[in-house]
Assembly symmetry: C2
Homo-oligomer: 391 residues x 2
């Protein structure tokens, strides 16, 4: 992986391209509880802090390792202050200056915008790439090749502010769970033969529309991954959300100074909450400033336990996948599905197919992969009944 990256990292490219790749800075927003993965994922231990693939790495650590060959030590993580210790435990190499802690969640435009603003203060020519901490991607080399094309496509040139470049995922089915990207004309970018203009972003469709997208072609899933010059990000943010832009800029100017805590504490709580899609991506697409690189890698946002079943090949007899360090002994007979255990209990599973068992010290979930999406309803019910300590 590292040698693949080294061989490709600018070799054979002209100076402007090499400079673009060298200016890359990865940003990892690590947020989102992952309600449909309760009781494994929960407020105190969100999805990105779990190993959901049996790889031995948490999703956060795997995301970091996947980006490190591209960004080297230019890695920033944005997360909630409650997760500081867990994130530092996963990423002991990350310096304090690259760990952006949110005292309260302010949605993605504030999180990613602050990263952009801090990087802009340090060096306005930085090209940032933002990648969620809780997606599963493989193989890393294919992902990295797509990001390299995205960086080269994003790079400003003569008379150009560059592009905001998203990496689109080829739909494997007519999902109604994702927003879509409608691809436009191919772009002529040196070193990025797969770059296309983005015609528009479209919201999560109904089933009929999703079916049509899949049949027509030319649509890819919006996985929230994008690469862009920080200057272009901030230009669109300033145009669409001036108040947010001003606040983030004030925090960013204090970030690498002793005033960081005071300024952040004063401004952050009052920032508007808005998604980066509305604050930047959609208006930028309308302005013709967004491009897409098709991602030919395997991608999964691990939205529910059915995904965990798909992502893990069974390691036991009877097609039961067992995940979790807690597993002591799992006896299965005529069963299939996923068992995730955080306890040291013996588990016996007999005669149920496609089962999902999540065994934690204070909560137990038993369902099937077909019902995996309905875990959210259980969480909402528990919230309503006041059982918030297990959420």
């Amino acid at each position: 992986m590292t040698s693949f990256a080294s061989n490709d990292d600018g070799a054979g490219l002209a100076a402007p391209q090499r400079a673009a790749l060298a200016s890359f800075h990865a940003v990892i927003p690590a947020g989102g509880v992952g309600t449909r993965l309760w009781p494994l994922s929960r407020a105190g231990a969100p999805k990105f802090l779990h190993d959901l693939t049996g790889s031995g790495s948490t999703l956060l650590r795997a995301t970091y390792d996947r980006l490190e060959p591209l960004a080297h030590d230019r890695m920033m993580v944005v997360t909630g202050v409650a997760h500081k210790e867990a994130v530092c435990g996963q990423l002991p190499e990350i310096p304090d200056s690259e760990l952006v802690l949110e005292s309260e969640p302010k949605d993605s435009a504030a999180a990613i915008g602050l990263a952009a603003a801090i990087l802009f203060e340090r060096d306005p020519s930085i090209i940032m790439g933002s990648f969620a901490a809780d997606h599963v991607i493989s193989p890393d080399g294919v992902f990295q090749a797509a990001v390299r094309e995205a960086i080269l496509t994003a790079a400003p040139g003569e008379g150009s502010d560059g592009k905001i470049v998203t990496i689109g995922i080829a739909p494997t089915h007519a999902s109604t769970g994702f927003g879509y990207i409608r691809t436009g004309d191919p772009l002529a970018v040196a070193g990025a033969p797969h770059a296309y203009a983005v015609a528009e972003f479209v919201e999560k469709p109904d089933q009929q529309t999703a079916d049509r997208y899949l049949a027509e072609g030319g649509y890819s899933w919006n996985a929230g991954m994008f690469v862009a010059p920080v200057s272009l990000m901030l230009k669109h943010l300033a145009a669409n959300e001036p108040e947010l832009h001003a606040g983030l800029t004030e925090i960013a100017q204090a970030w690498d100074t002793p005033q960081r805590a005071e300024v952040t504490g004063r401004i952050w709580p009052n920032l508007p909450k808005i998604a980066i899609d509305y604050a930047v991506a959609e208006p930028a697409a309308a302005a013709g400033d967004v491009a897409v690189i098709p991602g030919e890698f395997r991608w999964d946002d691990v939205g529910d336990f059915a995904a965990i079943g798909r992502l893990n090949s069974a390691k036991d007899t009877d097609n039961v996948t067992v995940l979790g360090e807690g597993a002591r002994r799992v006896f299965t007979e005529d069963a299939s599905g996923v068992v995730v255990t955080d306890t040291k209990r013996v588990i016996a599973l007999i005669g149920i197919d496609d089962v999902v068992i999540v065994d934690t010290p204070d909560a137990l979930l038993v369902t099937t992969t077909a019902h995996a999406q309905r875990v959210k309803a259980a969480v909402e019910s528990l919230k309503a009944s006041g059982d918030v300590d297990v959420l």
Copy 2:
């Protein structure tokens, strides 16, 4: 129930019948782990120590309470020494002299035979009744009426040693899991209009034979309940198992003396292991000494978790029965079955019908009522793998 018993307890009967009822002494063998109810029932907490009906009483306590109106304080319990504390906790009124503790299990002939021998030493005219501690019976009044008929049928008379009287259960289906009693001719017993001779005991049949028994009629299930003069019990035991009879007699003679512990410790470990069916019941039936009273009450030996589902009407939405004091909150959606919990965990159950979930601190079982009999295989596998601490 008590008033029913009082009204019936000898009122309107002749002196010999009243004497027979007054000589009754109940014996409760409390043994058997109940492997198919693992992990709820286990070596350290066998079936009889659990409330499996949601009544608030353990099966042992319910058995005691069902017999108490007939036997008053003439109640004896035979159990393993390991269960002494738990049994005394359930039955604080039981005196030390009525608690027979086995240092090691020696099968039912030794357990019930020792009770018979001890009672015989105290009073050779006692009529004993032996009733397992882990069956579910209702209503109590119907059971008590059957036991009264059994006592009157068992009572010795002029020129008669009396009878060993079993209480037969009318088959509700063609079960291959029970032995059967073939009913013979009606007997003319004062106060016991439902007494019949027993033609023979037959072993657990294959399915075809069980179907025939049900179709033909005249067969009832052998639930191991019997009432008999202790003298007649011991006569058959002496004839069939003289070594066992001699050993039990020696222990019994020391029982109510300071030598109890010494004599028991010396003799008990060397006694032969044999079931009461082979040592007494079957040879006594062949000798024409066995009668049967049909039990018209509802009876269940709670052989597996399917039985627990049958015995408990659902108390929650979605037809899920929740048992166990541990239950904190059980969320169910589109589910049915049984949840037994010994922990304080929140449980969410979504989209599985006829499920069985047994949630204990060190072991978790997830199966369906259709697979309930196969829990035994899980226990055997755990035993083979050395996980005996959870068995």
